[in-house]
Amino acid sequence: MDPLHALVQGFHAALSPFNLLACFGGVLAGTIAGVLPGIGPVGTMALLLPLSFGLPTDSAIIMLAGVYYGAMYGGSTTAILINIPGETPSIVTTFDGYQMTRKGRAGAALAIAALGSFVAGTLGVVGLMLMAPVLARAALRFGPPEFFAVGVFGIILLSNLTSAPFLKSILMSLVGMALGTVGSDLITGRDRFTFGSPELRSGIDFAILTMGMYGLDEVLSVADEPYAVPSLFKVKLRDLYPNREELRRSAAPMLRGGVLGFLVGLIPGPSAFLASLFSYSLEKQLSSHPEEFGKGAVEGVAGPESANNAASAGAMVPLFALGLAFAPPVAVLLSGFMIHGIQPGPLFISQHPALFWSAIASMYIGNAMLLVLNLPLVGLFASLVRTPARFLMPAVALLTMAGAFSLNNSQFDLRILLGATLAGYVLRRAQFEPTPLIIGMVLGPVMERGLRQGLIVTRGDLASFVSRPITATLLAAAMGIVVYRCLRLVWRRPAAQSPA
């Protein structure tokens, strides 16, 4: 089936009333998650995971994906209005977005952010639509050694890019991979690290860990240090129009942000945040008025906001094409597929074309919905941030626990959830990031299968294992990053903070 025809079929499915409702529910939940402090897209997606059980597969994926890219829109609202980024990728938006607010151009900043998110989000979906099938076809030539090498490279690159020190990220990845070995061995079926527990035989659900380390952990942090309800800058609907000059100056940054964001989204790690940071740097370099950056330059809002939305689409390419998740939100999406009995990977698009194309079509629709939602309702979304923590946090905590219980109808999962929450709380304060742990849990089984099957196929010949071009390239790149980090460690001057 040619792509255009397939896309039309996809729109036909995505425009069904139920799927439209699922899309709307997802983008709305995502926008709210993006606006509210203490609640992120990962926790929200994990929370909605059990609620997606009763939905058809395509509706569930549409809803979960909607939360992911919806949160990118929501995060910019508070970044612009009150200088508090709703989500990490919106940190960069505070540099100039809030300055525009102080100059009385809040409405224009919000409109530019929403428009840029729409343009770049749509560009990102085009990229996803074109690249995923191509990469999937290429991945059909991947053997076990290639998948092992992709996993190694992904883990090393992720550890290099997180905000936590490199060695600590590596350690977290290894802990995550270790947790991923709990349960039945993938090849022999033998129980590993189950201690006779029937619950552990099916392994530790990484969605539960995600809920604990991203959802409840944030709730505990707010319980310790409740945020002060900020005063809000009021924006009227009639003020939501950028002037001609602002639109002219935003056009190119939006397009550049879209392309850059999509490409950065392909790499493991906090790609949305990195995309917005790179875009800001790029726009500042290219601007004929770089001195305006940090003082309300509209390019400083248009570029980063476009980039972080496009990155969310780029992050889904490895998922659809390879079945690999390199970011926690995508890991939750992977979980959503698996709950419904679908394994994303090189054969996914050819075996489930209707699901792939309806998901793609729904992203176009979802981006349009977000543009419509975010502009007129910006005042409403912004006022959500005034919800007192003493009401919001208990509700989020108990909703999370109910959601975790309902995943597998298991009290045991609740114990895992609370354990993960406390572990995440302590680990963050010791400068350990949970992202490598979660991704390690997801990639570990892939790497183990690749390594063991690769060794079987090559009869233990490591030389032929690493002589395959793609494997050799990826492993060499990973080794290069490790060597670079080790050299930095040796040559680095003593600092107040540990570089480990």
Binding site: F53, L174, T181, S221, D224, F391, S406, L451, R452
Partner: protein, 148 residues
């Protein structure tokens, strides 16, 4: 040492994992068994943890001023909040979702600083009902306990 207790805990985890992995069959290089990958991971974890401990200790010796490196433990509110969630977990099968949720919400809202009894009880009741109806509508099974 006190500042490195998290790193040491992770080292201990790595050592324990490595020890447990020795109980699994590693197979051979041509036919790796279920213990092959865990042994590699165990060694990797121990080495990584030792490296983290070593680098952190080295930098603590050389650094002039800066942060103490001490890990902040959960505060009183976070601990009490967690205690509430643990209580919820224990009460859930017996009391059932609606009642356990109502009691937990009331406790947590009060813990977070709300003092008006009417608001506490009203909010707890309203949210419990909304959550219950949401899960019921989505056909998500929840324990009913005494209401079962």
């Amino acid at each position: 040492m006190r500042r490195q207790w998290v790193n040491l805990s992770l080292l201990a985890f790595g050592l324990l994992y490595s020890y447990l992995a020795t109980g699994l069959n590693p197979g051979t290089i041509t036919d790796p068994g279920p213990g092959f990958f865990p042994r590699l991971l165990g060694v990797g974890m121990v080495l990584a943890a030792l490296a983290v401990i070593g680098v952190q200790a080295w930098n603590a010796m050389r650094a002039s001023g800066g942060s103490s490196g001490a890990v902040q433990l959960p505060g009183r509110s976070a601990l009490l909040f967690t205690a509430g969630l643990i209580g919820y977990l224990i009460a859930l099968p017996t009391a059932g979702y609606p009642l356990a949720t109502f009691l937990a919400l009331a406790y947590l809202v009060r813990l977070m600083g709300e003092t008006r009894r009417g608001v506490i009880l009203g909010l707890a009741a309203a949210l419990s009902l909304v959550f219950f109806l949401l899960f019921w509508y989505l056909q998500v099974p929840l324990p009913m306990g005494i209401f079962g």
